[in-house]
Subunit: 663 residues, 2 copies
């Protein structure tokens, strides 16, 4: 009869062979990285983790985040072996070896890197852009703790990958929040893509670093089943109340001498070498005395522990749709808005977020040391257990939020819009993974004035909008951008964000703004408001200003000035992207023209209108006014608006110019 | 007579008072952070650094990078006191106290955060988005070492700021490359914006972390002039061959009890409290026995050491314009291209980069562990001293490149285009700072196929293009995007990048592509090539495909298929953004239409054309074909192109559809 250790060896070899075969079939992938994880993955999936292959997302399951996403073939091999449930095209069924061999095929959910949205619910998030997984694990751990579920979140990180600063942001975050239900496993195979890893990423330094970051760090042989088992099973005792980091020495291309050393990173084994490589692994099996061991003996020894039983009530997720209705009715807010004629959109965000927190226990918030500027502190004070101070580390904040979203929470992530740019990669990964992420960027646009361009969200719009016209796996826009022009619309749009499933981005200027809308006004997505209609029978060509945020007010002033000259101009508050562009174009009629006014660089509102208008014969012309030069500090919003050509007088002048062109 | 230490105290108090007054005048800024740096800045600028206020960018000057840019009023105070040369509107003159009191004014180069481009050459780079300065310092240090100049680069980092992962990427990079001419100073004032810093960022943990990252870390009292002087003057001996990190315990709001503790972060002293605050600092002066000390006595004791003398030849920077001409003539390249009909643009990039390296010793390269994929390894092998392996840490790589650029080098920064997204914030800061940055993103677009969306550059275009229409301080586009469609154009565009001053981004697909252009073809910026003219007298509406990169080839195939139906379509290779849009629109004539085809998300080529077309009455319609859904892995480029609606058949179908619409 086999020992357990032999059973693990046998399984590790079998999985390694499958991973090699799958990458050869795909003619792509990273078999050598996969081989370095054979024993760690076998121990985790077959011995240590409490989970159920038939229900990989069960609430009480331990989780595994593969931060080094390119190692995924070894996980796919295990999932195929275990018949884990996959849901290609929405149809649930057990994964087969045929599925495994379809790795990277266009019709397969077995993608090049982990991607739950394609129908692989084993994964909690998309990974593949390196250095993000530990933050996702932190978010999952935080969600589990909020739900009172004592599950463990394992995260496998490459040694080369640990060069990414975000890993160390996550190490700090996990230590800060005492998320001792996370276990970080560094896969120290010493080889990156183009070179050996730096000494700074060797196992000795990684251990020292982890200790300096407040973790317990234990070094083990990552191919020794007994050692892996020992450290993972005794993790609570070993960690002594700190988060545990396992620094595992492994071999890239384990078991196959021909695949050792440099030059075998993202290189599948060629078909003609496949048999030799598989034979090398079989030889190892003979050495371990497990060659030809009956599958039932191995299965007998490798019994997966089922997930914790979790009462449904413990993870009852209110539907997002219920949030707005509950929060809307709150009289306090209405009176706050009624009594205060000037209010900043960010302050209304804080108020709305706190209301949402009261309405739904699944709402959580994260902020990066600017909660007193974004007003996320309203939520933080009311619901300290559901607030996660992320400190000055935006990348970790966004990926942790993706983890929280995957754990069933509705995370609102706030900082200056400019600093969300630090996490654009993480935002894209969250979008790929289908995270229900609510991003809030304050202090956007040039009207921030005094602090200068390093603090102004100006490129945020172009980046976020590129996803607004990408369909996600449900056919919805992968991103919705919302720019309130007053406190009422800010409040309403925060509710709308909560009600919408999927990624949203609210852009809120710093300034106090006059209230434009009556209390309780609704702000449906993909729509806009005509805040000033055109007068009938006015002089010249019909003019429509289309703006958002602060500049709606500038356009209203410009329209007022033009009216004094007998020129009528309508003003549209285009608070939502994607916008209902045909309806906006129709406002200009057959003869009119549109001037799009925005306080950011090109690629936003004007582009949105122009892209559609350019496809329509007879569409009104769209004249853009954007921030066309790098701004600087100014002591007032007006100073900076003038500097970049967006002052009220610039808007009036543009209107007069374009009327003349038309005249 | 005063002691030196008293002179430092007197100066520190005087600078502190100036910084407080300036922020009060500006009604904005961070006086308390400034006060925490009084002694460190005084010691550095008046005692330790070798530099010349009249020529702050002298080649032999020590440098100071203020990573926590919001602390800048204390540096401005010192610069005003010293009459450092500023160059507002290009006119050099000494900075005055009036300049200081104009802090953050729209007409002033004394911006809210350090910004050399406004006429403040003391700074080497724009800072203000946190966590980037140490990487800039690393780049400056690398440049100095290449030039053989033994100068020291000091960098001041906030304790809260040290939460940013990029700081730790920089710590690794500096240790890896043994840049012992960098001195990192952590300003541990224990207070961030919204809270006390985490224990993870206290001075004890920062010291442990720095040591674990291979640095010598020394803790000092940051308000003790003797201690500061001692550690900075003896830095070489103390550091024992490692980079030196000074962990300085400081007091936020030093000297002013009313400004101690939380609640005083970005808050200037109100006018009515100003006298009391200044009086508190004066009281300290009396305590130190320096109140009323004659200015000449202080000046006598605080003598700045002049910069090292550097022979002009040592930093002779060839003009960028000479690069292309020198590199162009190389016969090897011509024959390589002649003999090889298929070549990937990235391989041509590697070849061109190596040629540039031979042509100009100022060309340097950085890559993030994918040099064997980007072909930056051609350069790395030929010029190992000028190649900086940045490992898997893109943020540090980009900011270090900005530092190298500021140090007179021409840095080429390569990785997958998707992974440059990790450094979008750093790219924006480099643009603000006017860095001559050459970015190269390979493996862009959906044709990467097999690796899936986590590896495909798809949002890169929208982000980079938002800067293509922003004017920099010289009135030029702040970014130029170049997308080659074959090896010849890739080679030519790399030369064009080198010849252009300012930020450029080359997008290179992974695939081998047929050669479209004859050897030696020139590729001027802001232009395009008609690679297939329309035939005269063909059926239907004139059709113009406008594409870039891989999709130029798809459009050529589509045009071929349409020709078989008797439909003539022209194909334009729009390799440059900003584009010459009017010229492209003119190709469609009065009756034609344009189909823009691109392998990225919306916000690129189609938007570029539509934005202009939408302003022109009678412009041809622009029909966009973009990546409209999140892609996935596929085993061939064709599979994924088809999946996202960009297959040749999709292009043909779009052409037929739009011809019918027109018909």
């Amino acid at each position: 009869m086999l020992t357990v250790e032999q059973a693990v060896q046998a399984k590790a070899i079998a999985l390694g062979k499958l991973a090699v075969r799958a990458t050869t079939a795909a003619k792509a992938g990273h078999p050598t990285t996969a081989l370095s994880l054979t024993h760690l993955v076998t121990e985790l999936l077959y011995r240590v983790m409490r989970w159920d292959p038939a229900d990989p997302r069960a609430a009480g399951s331990d989780r595994l985040v593969l931060s080094e996403g390119h190692a995924v073939p070894i996980l796919y091999a295990a999932c195929a072996d275990l018949g884990v449930t996959i849901t290609p095209h929405g149809q649930a069924r057990p994964m087969t070896q045929d599925d495994l061999m379809a790795l990277r095929d266009i019709d397969s959910p077995v993608d090049g890197h982990p991607n739950p949205e394609l129908g692989f619910p084993f994964f909690d998030a998309a990974t593949g852009s390196l250095g993000q997984g530990l933050s996702v694990a932190a978010g999952l751990a935080a969600a589990a703790r909020l739900d009172g579920i004592d599950k463990t979140i394992y995260c496998i990180i490459g040694d080369g990958e640990s060069r990414e600063g975000q890993i160390w942001e996550a190490m700090d975050f996990i230590a800060d929040h005492e998320l001792t239900n996370v276990v970080a496993i560094f896969n120290c195979n010493t080889l990156a893509q183009s070179d050996y890893v730096s000494p700074a990423q060797d196992w000795v330094h990684l251990q020292h670093k982890a200790q300096a970051f407040g973790w317990i760090a234990l070094e083990i042989d990552g191919h020794d089943p007994a050692k892996i088992d020992d450290v993972l099973r005794n993790r609570t005792a070993l960690a002594k109340g700190k988060p545990l980091c396992v620094v595992a020495r492994t071999v890239k291309g384990w078991g196959v001498p021909d695949l050792a050393g440099m030059g075998h990173h993202g290189t599948p084994v060629k078909q003609e070498q496949l048999e030799a490589v598989l034979a090398a692994l079989d030889r190892l099996g003979r050495e371990f005395g497990v060659d030809g061991a009956p599958a039932e003996d191995i299965a007998q020894l490798l019994r997966i522990t089922p997930p914790l039983e979790v009462p449904p009530a413990q993870v009852d997720v209110s539907t997002p749709a219920s949030l707005g209705a509950v929060a809307q009715g709150n009289a306090k807010i209405a009176s706050a808005l009624r009594d205060k004629k000037m209010m900043s959109p960010r302050r209304a965000f804080g108020t709305a977020l706190k209301m949402l927190g009261a309405a739904n226990p699944q709402v959580v918030a994260l902020d990066a040391d600017v909660k007193n500027s974004t007003y996320a502190e309203d939520f933080a004070q009311a619901f300290p257990d559901r607030y996660f101070e992320a400190r000055i580390a935006e990348q970790n904040m966004v990926s942790a939020a993706a983890g929280l979203a995957s754990g069933g929470k509705i995370p609102f992530v706030s900082t200056f819009g400019r600093f969300l740019e630090r996490a654009f990669d993480q935002i894209e990964m969250a979008i790929i993974g289908g995270a229900n992420l609510k991003l809030v960027g304050t202090h956007v646009g040039v009207t921030l004035a005094s602090d200068g361009p390093s603090q102004m969200g100006l490129a945020d719009v172009a980046f976020m909008r590129t996803f607004a016209h990408v369909r996600d796996s449900h056919g919805n826009p992968a991103m919705t951008i919302l720019t309130p022009s007053d406190a009422v619309s800010a409040y309403g749009l925060v509710l709308a964000m909560a009600e919408t499933s999927g990624a949203c981005y609210l852009r809120a200027v710093r300034s106090d703004l006059p209230v434009l809308y009556p209390e309780g006004e609704n702000f449906p997505l993909r729509s806009h408001k005509v805040v000033r209609p055109a007068l009938q029978g006015s002089a010249g060509r019909p003019l429509v200003f289309v703006a958002w945020g602060y500049l709606v007010h500038s356009c209203l002033k410009a329209a007022q000035m033009l009216e004094e000259d007998g020129v009528s101009a309508a003003v549209v508050d285009a608070y939502s992207l994607p916008a209902d562009v045909p309806a906006i174009l129709a406002l200009a009629g057959d003869e009119g023209c549109i001037i799009a006014v925005e306080d950011n660089y090109v690629g936003g509102l004007g582009s949105e209108l122009a892209e559609t208008a350019a496809t329509i014969e007879g569409a009104p012309p769209i004249y853009p006014l954007v921030v066309g030069r790098i701004p600087k500090s100014g002591r007032s919003a007006d100073d900076v608006l003038h500097y970049v050509g967006l002052g009220v007088e610039d808007i009036v002048e543009a209107a007069r110019h374009h009327m003349h062109v038309a005249g």
